[in-house]
Structures are given as C-alpha cells and as structure tokens.
C-alpha cells in the first residue's frame, strides 16, 4: 500500500487531520486491507466492517502465513468482505463460496481457506453446500455474518429472519421458522461452532484466532445489525441501538446445547463457543483411508497442489 493512496482518506473524516497525510499513523489492520478500495460499500452502523477488522486482528495474532490464506465470499453485503482483505481473494457466485473454497482447499491442500459470507448466501441459496461441507468436515473456516435479512437486494426475508420480524417480502411479519445456524452446523458434524455479536469484538477476535488454530469445518456465526433495512423495517433504530440491544440481551453460555440457540425477535441472543472437538477432516480421512487400502500405491496430492511445473 502506497502512502499517497492513504492520503485519499483525508477527505473522508469531517475534521481535517492535524498532521500531513504522510504523517498520519496507519490503523493497525491496514496491512491486512486493500486500502485503495476504502471507503467500502457498507452502510454507517453496519456490523460487517467490524467483523472484517476482527478477522484481520485474529490473522495477525495467529501468526498465519498470509501468503497461504485465501478468503472466499459469495454474494451480498458480507460477500464483499473478500474484496477488502489483502489476501488471495475470491468473490464468487451467490451461494457457492463453500464449494469454491472446497476446490481451493483440495487443489492446494496447504492453503488455509476462509469463507466470509452472509446468512442468505450461506444458509439460503448455499444451504445445501453448507450442510455437506460440515458433514464432510471440509477444512474451511466459515464466518457467517447474520443480519437476519437480505441486505444488498433490499431487505427481503431470509432463512434466518426471526418469526414476526418484518422484511420487505414479509411486510406483515415473517411466519416462516428460521434456521438456528449453530445447531444446523453442529448437527451436520461441524467440530467448531461459535456465535458472537459484533459487539463482542474481543471475544469474536479470540474465537477467530482459536478457530484458525483448529482444523475442519469451523463455523462462527456473527450477529450484526443492518440499520438500513432490518432495523429500519422493524423500527429498531440505528446501528448503535443494535449494539445496545446486544449489550443488554446477549447471554454468554459456552457449551450451550445447540438446540436451544434459536433467535426470537428482539429476545435474548445466546452467544459463546458451543462445539470445540477434534474430528478428522475430509483430507485426513481420505489420506488415512487410501493409505490403508492402497498402501504404497497411494500417492497423495502434494501440499502445494497437483499442478504441472511449466
């Protein structure tokens, strides 16, 4: 990132900086972001940027080799995350981030592949991929940002919209039962399942850091406000009101039974780490199984991938 690009930020804060642009200190996570793409597309008060910041911090603390980290997104507001992180980034089709990420992981097994997408993308159009990746224990870190609504397209009902909450396609209130995302993941076999809100910056960052250290299908659901649509349609106020709501209503219960994690409209949100166990990943199982059955005939793909050297 070049200094003059940073300089473009000077016109963004309403008060001019007291120092010259080249003297302005970088935000600690700027090395992890594509600063030339800032300002981002997210609305004021949206929670997604916070989640990206937490992820960048977690990456830094984890000591991961960033050259080997890929981030994959689907479509939607959260789907834009891949575009702001300074990693190998793939902004794919709607719902297909997980299978795309599966291809990356299997094509070059040494990669750490993170999927960053929204509730509609991952549990609606991509729901089938979500459950199967969890079942296979594909080695992916999935960060599912749940704002209870399809934001980018204008606030339509999502598979996560709480009962009675209004959306632009359920103007009289939602009558469809929503998914309980952590339970969905856990019941399909995900070995790491947590939920936080984007108020819980330190705990969320810590969870991400911990998840980066685990293997297999790791799911972190992050509840985030959508002031422009979900909050507006439901008269819940600004992003700050959302944060206040989390502060008052988030209940931390590590190890809670995932069956009890339903989110009702404006009721308490149970947060915490619900599952943290070891289970062989898809690649572990494949390597072990073929090794047993085929013995010396088994040639696993190299960690660098099965590519031809030109």
């Amino acid at each position: 990132m070049s200094k003059d690009k940073v300089g473009t930020r000077t016109d963004f804060p309403p008060t001019p900086p007291e120092f010259l642009p080249e003297q302005q200190p970088d935000h600690p996570v700027t090395p992890y972001l594509r600063m030339e793409r800032i300002p981002h597309v997210w609305c004021p008060g949206c929670g997604i940027g916070t989640v990206v910041k937490c992820f960048a911090t977690a990456l830094e603390r984890s000591g991961a080799d960033l050259d080997k980290v890929s981030v994959v997104s689907g479509i939607g507001c959260s789907g834009r995350a891949a575009g702001y992180l300074k990693l190998d980034g793939f902004h794919t089709t709607h719902g297909r981030a997980i299978p795309f990420a599966t291809g990356l992981k299997l094509g070059r097994p040494e990669l750490e592949v993170a999927v960053f997408s929204g509730d509609g993308d991952l549990s609606g159009i991509g729901g089938n991929h979500f459950i199967h990746a969890a079942r296979r224990n594909m080695d992916l870190l999935v960060i599912l940002i749940n704002n209870f609504i399809y934001g980018m397209t204008g606030g339509q009902n999502a598979p996560t919209t709480p009962l009675t909450a209004k959306s632009s396609t359920m103007p009289f209130g939602n009558f469809e039962a929503p998914f309980n995302i952590p339970h969905l993941a856990a019941s399909c076999g995900a070995p790491y399942v947590a939920r936080w809100t984007c108020l819980h910056i330190r705990r969320l960052t810590w969870a991400m850091e911990e998840a980066l250290d685990r293997k297999g299908f790791r799911l972190i659901e992050v509840i985030a406000p959508c002031p422009t649509l979900y909050s507006r349609l439901n008269k819940l106020g600004t992003g700050l009101n959302g944060m206040r709501f989390y502060h008052d209503n988030a209940e931390i219960r590590h190890g809670a039974d995932t069956r009890e994690l339903d989110i009702d409209f404006q009721k308490s949100i149970t947060c915490g780490k619900f599952v943290d166990e070891e289970r062989p990943t898809f690649l572990d199982q494949m390597n072990e199984h073929y090794g047993q059955v085929l013995g010396e005939k088994y040639v696993p793909m190299s960690p660098e991938g099965g590519w031809l050297h030109g």
């Binding site: 594509r34 990693l87 997980i98 795309f100 696993p300 991938g305 099965g306």
Partner: protein, 388 residues
C-alpha cells in the same frame, strides 16, 4: 511440455468413450475433479476416482452440479488442472459457474456426455441437443470453446486438447461427447507420455508488487498467479478492472467483456478444427460433428453410389464456429446438409454463415438413436437434384 508419465496409461485398450475421456484428462495432467453422478457420464468419474489416488489427484463427489462446477473453478485457481463431468440436466445447473469461470478467466474442462432432453429426457440414450446450451447457456456475453469427439479414441485425444486450449485461452472448454460415443467401446491407443504434448499453467513472472491479475499487456490473456504464491490478488464475478476489483461502469464493462469475447474471436482461426473431405468439386457438402459424422459417412457413400458429388466437413471444434469455412463452401456448393441429433441447432449457424448463398438443409432427429443413414442420403440426393 510432455505429459507426466504417472497419468498416462500407455498401450492399446478396449475402452468406452467415457473411460477414454477420463484417461485423456489424466494424461493431460488433470488432478482435481469434482462431479455429481449422472447417466451417461458417470463412467468418466468412476474411472478417474479409481486411478486418481495412484497419481496425486483428488476426486470429490459434490452435493450437486452447482457445487461441482464451483469447486472446479476454485480448484483451477490453485493451478491444479480441474475438470467436471456431467450430462444435460447437470450441465444446466453448471451454467451459473461456467459463467463465473468465463468471467474470472479460469482454465477448466466441462465434459457433457449428451443425452436426449429436455429435462430428464432420455437418460440412457443419445442426444446432441446441448450444442446451443454449451455456447449460450450462461447469462451475459462470453465466449467458450467446445469440442466434439466421434469415437473413444478421439475422446482420449481431444480431452487432452481441450485441456490445452483451456490453458492457452483461459476459458472453460466444453467437451461435448454424446451417449453413444460415451458408451461405445472400441480400441483406444494411448501413446507414451513423451509423445503427448500438454500445456502447463503459465505462471506470471512478475513480482507481487507488479502483478495485476487482469493486465494483458497486449497479449490475448492475462498472466496467471496461483492462490497461495504470495500475490494476494483479488478476482470476482463482477465486472472488474485490471486489478480484479469490481468497477460498475459502462467503460469497464466494455473493456472487460470485449476482451472475454475477442480473445476467442480474434484467435478463432487458430482454435477452429475440422476435417474436410472431397469438398473441392462437391455439389453438396454434409456438415456434421460427433457420432453423427460417422453415420453421415455411410450416407455419403450411398449418395455417391447414386451419382451425387458429395463432400463432407466434420467439425471437431464446434465453438468458435467455423465461420470462414462455411462462408467459403456456401459460395461453392449447391447445398449444405446438416444432420444432427436435435431439431436444428448448429444448422442455424450454418444458415447464418451461408447467408442465402446456397440451400441449407437440416436433417433433424429427436434423439434416442443415431440417424438412419438412408434418411440422410435421401436429403443429399434430393438437395443435389433440386439445386440442379
């Protein structure tokens, strides 16, 4: 470069077209396949899943064809040559991410062993009705390459070529087999690895600081960086600039899409492949592809015995279409006869290129079987008589 011997099953084999296609992929260096079972294509992945563990390849059976195609695009971005295999109904589901592959300029091969349609149609019986879907199936403007083998031997040979073309032009290549070629067993000779030319993924020589994923520098395609090599690049299915960043503007759309088209259209002469026989003094030329080309040769013999001067063109590469060839022929012959196992798909292209300069006669067949050669012969003879 030469093929990696580990993937090459050198020798004479009695193989069906599906198995031969799988062997071709392995010889070409394909090491990642994601697929979902569908008749009559499944034997391709059955072959591959049995052989891959001995050559450092990974096969995964995905949850559906949407996922299969998405995984193949992801796999290819690691530099590992990737392929998926399907038939009509699955091909329809793959269109979304075939569009993504085209937009991200991802080398990959999509095998479609065509069966009768529409919908579930004739699962175990032949069709050639996905020709237009292969070209136009995903939304928006883009170009692909499509090839069509006429025998198990070609299923092997051309699969290698499909991979090579996908690498050179960074496009998804549609490998349009059909149920008969797929399920037909014949002798397939696989040469030694050092006689098989394969195109490796050409990696950029630039530093991460210099590199932009869609900068072409006057070449037809941009340079490639693999995920995990420190380039920290970004790519997207959105309209994007040279940095791979989304840019929603008329100018960027024009630049981005035009290049996707022109890298193929400008090189069509290099990509197009066909076999031409006895067209020099022909009154009628039969234009065919795939299994129908074999049946048409019998029809041509019948017509010749009845005194018609008839030549033939067999399209090996279907897309880009052999426009120049058909335009030239249309100026020379009385009629072009186009038998295909559909109700008239590629014949539309032939008509377009003939532009009224000669008669263009489809010989349609709804699917489930090849043509009766006598029916094609009848059209040839009639075409010659009417034009005379």
């Amino acid at each position: 470069m030469k093929a990696d011997p580990i993937g090459v099953l050198t020798g004479a084999h009695y193989l069906d077209g599906d198995f031969a296609c799988g062997e071709g992929a392995m010889a070409a260096g394909c090491r990642f396949v994601a697929g979902y079972p569908i008749t009559p294509s499944t034997e391709v992945v059955e072959r591959i899943s049995r052989r891959f563990p001995t050559m450092g390849g990974t096969f995964i059976q995905m949850e559906d064809e949407l996922a299969s195609m998405a995984a193949v695009v992801g796999g290819s971005w690691t530099g590992t040559k990737s392929m998926t295999v399907t038939s009509g109904p699955g091909f329809s589901l793959m269109m979304e991410n075939i569009g993504l592959a085209a937009m991200m300029e991802t080398p990959c091969v999509v095998v479609n062993v065509q069966r009768g349609g529409p919908s579930t149609g004739l699962p175990t019986m032949v069709g050639q009705a996905d020709v237009m879907q292969a070209r136009w199936g995903s939304h928006g403007d883009y170009e692909i390459i499509a090839m069509s083998p006429q025998s198990p031997q070609e299923a092997f040979d051309l699969t290698i070529e499909a991979f090579n073309l996908s690498e050179i032009y960074r496009v998804p290549v549609m490998f349009l087999m059909d149920e008969i070629v797929g399920h037909m067993t014949e002798r397939v000779v696989i040469p030694p690895a050092d006689e098989i030319e394969v195109v490796p993924r050409a990696l950029t020589g630039k530093t991460p600081e210099e590199f932009e994923p869609y900068q072409i520098n006057g070449k037809p395609t941009p340079e490639f960086a693999r995920a995990g090599d420190g380039y920290r690049f970004h790519t997207t299915g959105l309209t994007h600039d040279e940095r791979g960043y989304p840019e929603m503007s008329v100018e960027c759309q024009e630049r981005c899409v035009r290049r996707l088209l022109e890298k193929i259209t400008d090189n069509a002469d290099r990509i197009v492949r066909f076999e031409e026989e006895a067209t020099d003094d022909a009154e009628v030329v039969v234009v065919t592809y795939g299994i129908t080309a074999r049946v048409a040769r019998l029809a041509i013999d019948m017509a010749r015995r009845r005194g018609v001067k008839v030549g033939s063109v067999r399209l090996i590469v279907i897309w880009p279409f052999a426009e120049k060839l058909i335009r030239e022929l249309a100026g020379k012959v009385r009629a072009l006869v186009v038998p295909e196992i559909n109700y008239g798909q590629l014949v539309l292209e032939v008509e377009r290129c003939a532009a009224g300069k000669c008669a263009v006669l489809p010989v349609s067949h709804g699917g489930g079987s090849v043509h009766d050669p006598a029916v094609i012969a009848e059209v040839i003879v009639k075409a010659a008589a009417e034009a005379a």
